[in-house]
Symmetry: C2
Subunit: 307 residues, 2 copies
């Protein structure tokens, strides 16, 4: 099979840091075009709109959509209508309804849609899942606390309505949680909004499973000093810690699994796999929990945030 001719839409930091090296090292893909208002990739034909790109480069087979979620639907709709496979960066859209719509369109057009969740491919996630599947879980505590000024400096879109605020990193935790734990639902939540912003800077979420397993998740963007991206489970086989965003698994304080980080290479392997199989991979559970938190959560106002 010849390589999948791939185009990227929305050339920003995540594309340069992650997508481009992963594509360059994957023989299943050949980057043939980009569309972006500002960004370009050296040596690759560049366009400023997806329409111009799709018109000018008919040999495109698939597109990766990496712009902010508020602008993703239009591009995905056009690409799917044109019969292209689509890779959606996380979160897959600004609303659940639009992603459900895109999923139906991909099916009707006979192409693949991939709603990617990069943190699910963190090195120790599968080892954590295997450990939890082999024991009884008593409680789970998710602590996802980072410094927004360091990780998202001056990213205005992330603070706008629809930008998700602290749920932008928090959804990474939820993408792991929904992969390694039984189905959960929210029973209560408090969302803290800076008085000058439309998106929350912190969230405290309480979930339960049907069987009554309690799961608490704390997301906070005001963390200076040590950053935390940890999932701690109390189990009958002891305390499990999945630390550093899914990178390291420890049980009762002993490191039991780690491996080099390779999330985006794994995502592109998965994308090639579903394109070859003629299927889609769209799991909305992480975004559904975020929507549930906004719907059910109590709003609290906290001091203004300035970058």
């Amino acid at each position: 099979m010849s390589p999948i001719n791939l185009a990227i839409v929305g050339v920003g930091k995540i594309v340069r840091d992650q997508h481009l090296p992963s594509i360059a090292n994957n023989a299943d893909f050949k980057l043939v075009a980009t569309a972006s208002r500002h960004g370009t990739v050296e040596g690759i034909p560049a366009f400023t709109t997806i329409e111009a790109m799709l018109d000018a480069v008919p040999e495109i087979d698939a597109v990766s959509l990496c712009m902010p979620p508020q602008y993703r639907y239009e591009a995905a709709y056009k690409a799917l209508q044109a019969g292209k496979h689509v890779f959606l960066e996380k979160p897959p859209g600004a609303t659940l309804s639009e992603v459900a719509d895109l999923e139906a369109l991909a099916k009707a057009k006979g192409v693949s849609l991939f709603a990617s969740w990069h943190s699910r491919y963190a090195p120790a996630v599968e080892a954590a899942k295997a450990f939890l599947d082999g024991t009884t879980i008593k409680s789970v505590h998710v602590i996802w606390k980072e410094d927004v000024r360091h990780w998202h400096p001056n990213q205005e879109w992330i603070w706008q309505a629809g930008g998700l605020g602290v749920f932008d990193p928090g959804i990474n935790a939820l993408s792991i949680v929904t992969h390694i734990l039984p189905p959960l639902f929210l029973t209560g939540a408090v969302l803290e909004f800076p008085e000058n912003r439309d998106s929350p800077i912190a969230a405290d979420l309480h979930f339960k499973s049907g069987q009554g397993l309690p799961v608490r998740a704390e997301f906070d963007w005001r963390q200076t000093g040590k950053q935390s991206w940890d999932i701690v489970a109390e189990t009958e086989a002891g305390q499990m810690v999945l630390a550093e965003g899914g990178s390291k698994l420890s049980v009762n304080g002993e490191l039991t699994f780690t491996a080099p980080e390779a999330e985006y290479p794994s995502l592109y392997r998965r994308f090639a796999e579903i394109v070859k199989a003629g299927t889609s991979d769209v799991d909305l559970a992480p975004l559904r929990h975020v929507a549930d938190a906004f719907m059910l959560g109590k709003r609290k106002f906290v001091e203004a945030f300035h970058d």
Copy 2:
């Protein structure tokens, strides 16, 4: 087939006004028990908890859950685990995730789950759908404006986080819209919260379909005088107005269809139908739009609301 032995959980105003007369007039059902903290039904064995009721009355085949949505999951889970069919009042839950979970449980247990949307069974809804299916729609405007003091006096739960506020009536409009229009998704929203309440008193929603059909919905709980529950569509065949909560259909100012109101009798006919067929009927689209509105919507604070 002998009647379905039915129990009701949460005996309040909607049960007395709608459920009881509909059940009394439907030979497919026999009311055999109720569970409610306060309410009872004359001549019917009454319990204060669903657990006590399920233990004491094993012949129960099905339960209707009519308590506020924040408390519905636990009862539904217990009833489904006990192998009972379940009728959920609208909205079917406080979160999307819990309803997805219940749907999976009903399937596993081989029983029927009905997420009911009573407004879909308003008299003129099917006639409106037939009219719209036969023309090209240019735009749609939903105006759902009522006086909360009149319709929900001192209902504290409706103002709490998870109580949905003005989306409690608004979801009725959305249940009609998602039945008679093509799939839509939200592109922008403003939610107005009274400064002393956790739920919105008004919402202005802008939707689009994949084909670009613009749909605007205005929900407001501060309407005194004439109340509005109208859906107005501009079409190539003229202006269609579905008025009074789906009761009356007019085209270009002429009344073309109306019939006596019979929403809850229709719901119980539908529930009997799916129980006999061994299927479920769970359409989450209306609640998904509400969750999307909370996630995507811009929050605006307005003057305090006092009952």
